[in-house]
């Protein structure tokens, strides 16, 4: 039997939605086919004749309610301003105050007053200089490149392996011990090996970041796959999905948010590993800049770089959050 033979004459049934046919067939009151029994009956519909008065008053009320939602409601506006402006501003202010207190404590202690450059004022002055001279971009770019490459590798390795582990319990059990063992090794412990194994410093640093970032991506992906509703597989198989279609139409969309949640964690650890990794032989990047500032006793520049690291980390995290939202199908609750 071919597909064409099985095609049903759906369009040739115009009377389906009407009540006429059903009444003549079964001799019972017509029910509009389109009305879900769980949905409220349309106002003024059949059978409402005896209750027309309350129905009409309900109609009058509706525009009033509609108007109300469009009015300026102070509690809502206040909540919005608090959460988007006031609370973050307060958090930043507290941080700056603590920083300023620390700077003041350093400056007023003769033993360590040489480190007074750490205080907010000199740090921001140095930051302004870095930005004005454009030096800051030359420092950021190599670090971002290394982070980007490391995360890319973590993604390319972590997602497929994570999917495989999530799907196969045998594979999961085989890899459990080796993966937990490898995961527990500090990425920085790989440093000497990385230096030996890679021809370039950049290669070694990207390797270290990959080693750190792959685990969160891999485990989050695997967990996402394991949480997929088994019925989703069953339904797709029943609808004729082959392996590739299952992966593309069911598995990947289902775990998108888990993958990016893993990537968000990965960004965190990658960013942590980056700075010490750049203490290695390289002569560029944020880690190098910190080391260099320390060696030349420019503590204000050092503090400025720390601020830059914090800001970029914050932005990268925000990017991940928006990716998670973009690939999330769970309705907000």
């Amino acid at each position: 039997m071919t597909a064409a033979e099985g095609t049903l004459p759906l369009t040739a049934e115009p009377a389906l939605t009407g009540g006429e046919q059903r009444r003549s067939a079964g001799g019972r009151p017509a029910r509009p086919a389109a009305a879900d029994a769980g949905a409220p009956a349309p106002p003024g519909g059949a059978g409402d004749a005896g209750r027309s008065a309350p129905a009409r008053s309900a109609v009058i009320e509706r525009p009033a309610r509609h108007w109300h939602t469009r009015t300026f409601r102070w509690p809502a506006v206040r909540a919005f301003l608090l959460s988007t402006v006031a609370y973050p501003a307060l958090g930043i202010a507290v941080l700056l105050a603590l920083w300023w207190l620390g700077g003041w404590a350093i400056a007023s202690n003769e033993d360590v007053s040489a480190f007074a450059g750490f205080a907010p004022a000199p740090a921001f002055a140095a930051l302004g200089e870095l930005v004005a001279s454009g030096d800051v971009w030359g420092t950021i770019y190599p670090s971002l490149y290394r982070i980007g490459m490391g995360l890319l590798w973590a993604f390319v390795i972590g997602v497929p392996v994570g999917v495989a582990i999530g799907l196969s319990s045998a594979l999961r059990e085989v890899t459990h011990v080796p993966f937990q063992f490898l995961r527990m090794i500090s990425p920085l412990a790989w440093m000497p090996i990385a230096v030996l194994a890679f021809a370039t410093w950049d290669g070694a640093i990207v390797f270290l970041i990959t080693v750190a970032a792959v685990w969160p991506v891999l485990f989050s992906t695997a967990q996402g796959v394991r949480r997929i509703d088994p019925l989703w597989f069953k339904v797709a198989r029943n609808l004729g999905a082959d392996g590739w279609q299952m992966l593309r139409r069911v598995i990947m969309p289902a775990i998108g948010q888990d993958i990016f949640a893993g990537l968000r964690l990965a960004v965190g650890v990658a960013w942590i590993v980056l700075v010490p990794a750049e203490y290695l032989g390289v002569t560029s990047g944020l880690g190098y800049a910190i080391n260099d500032a320390r060696d030349t006793l420019e503590y204000d520049t050092l503090a400025a770089i720390v601020v830059v690291i914090g800001i970029i980390g914050f932005l990268l995290d925000g990017l991940c959050v928006s990716l998670i939202k973009r690939f999330s199908w769970r309705q907000a609750d």
Binding site: M1, A3, E5, G6, T7, L8, L10, T11, E13, L16, T17, R22, A25, G26, G27, R28, R31, A33, A34, A35, D36, A37, G38, A39, R227, I228, D229, P230, L231, W232, K234, V235, A236, R237, N238, L239, G240, A241, D242, Q245, R249, V250, P253, A254, G256, W329, R330, Q331
Partner: protein, 268 residues
């Protein structure tokens, strides 16, 4: 086009179990017939239905649909579950046309007609999570019908719905199946559902799972629930059921809580 189904002495033993879950199940279903399968929780109804769908293979015996042996799932025999299990990242329309997509076909007109048929034409682009349970089950029905199946297998598809929606959907599915000339097998806990939808009711008993009896429901369709004949058929089915698998107590309709006994894995 409706398909005939014949089940030839299926016996099934799950891995790691000594006693068979199904033993020597034999039945045959005429093309276009609507059959209900009732029985206590755990007697193997879902297992049998999975085998008809090709989602599970019996350890002994085989299933033939329209003379072809079932060895794997196919869009030609489609199963619907208690949960609509729609894909929440797809719209109503995308869910409905998924089977066609898998087959590499596109037929927007057919999807439109199907969504119209299930009364969801105006929701085509809605997020499925914003639909009610009944509406979601209608989308699942449209999805099942899209690939022009010959056989529709329903595993307690309405048991999570309220009574009104359930009754409406029972009539609707039954009507659509007749209109589209589908063979229908519905597993249910609900005597009422069996009487409302089936031409013939098969009664299963457990340990081992087997068919112990059957009863024809010879009433005109659509079924008139308020009629005396309907009540008589309902009573007769209850008595038959009690006589075959009952233990004296009223065993007619194990209520919703028994469904929790089914291994429910965490939904994503």
């Amino acid at each position: 086009m409706a398909a005939s189904v014949s089940v030839d002495f299926i016996t099934h033993t799950f891995k790691g179990q000594s006693a068979p879950t199904l033993k020597d199940v034999e039945l045959s279903i005429r093309p276009g017939e609507q059959v209900a399968l009732i029985g206590r929780s755990g007697c193997g109804k879902s297992t049998l239905l999975h085998m008809l769908a090709g989602l599970m293979l019996p350890t002994e015996g085989c299933v033939h649909i329209r003379g072809h042996m079932v060895t794997k799932p196919s869009a030609k025999w489609n199963m619907m579950f208690q949960k609509p299990s729609l894909y929440p990242w797809m719209s109503v329309r995308q869910n409905a046309e998924l089977g066609l997509l898998f087959a590499g076909r596109r037929d927007p007109a057919r999807i439109d007609a199907l969504l119209d048929l299930v009364g969801l034409a105006d929701k085509a682009d809605a997020n499925v999570q914003s639909l009610s349970g009944g509406q979601q089950q209608r989308v699942a029905l449209a999805r099942s019908l899209a690939t022009s199946p010959e056989l529709l297998l329903l595993d307690e598809p309405f048991s999570a719905l309220d009574a009104f929606t359930r009754a409406a959907l029972q009539d609707e599915v039954s009507r659509i199946a007749r209109q589209e000339k589908l063979t229908l097998v519905i597993v249910t806990h609900d005597i009422d559902e069996a009487v409302a939808m089936a031409d013939r009711v098969l009664i299963m008993a457990a340990n081992p799972g087997r068919i112990v009896g059957e009863m024809a429901i010879d009433l005109p369709t659509p079924r008139e629930r308020a009629s005396a004949e309907y009540s008589r058929a309902r009573e007769q089915l209850m008595t038959t059921f009690d006589g075959l698998v009952g233990d004296g107590r009223s065993t007619a309709a194990p209520s919703a809580d028994t469904q929790d006994a089914e291994p429910q894995r965490a939904a994503a």
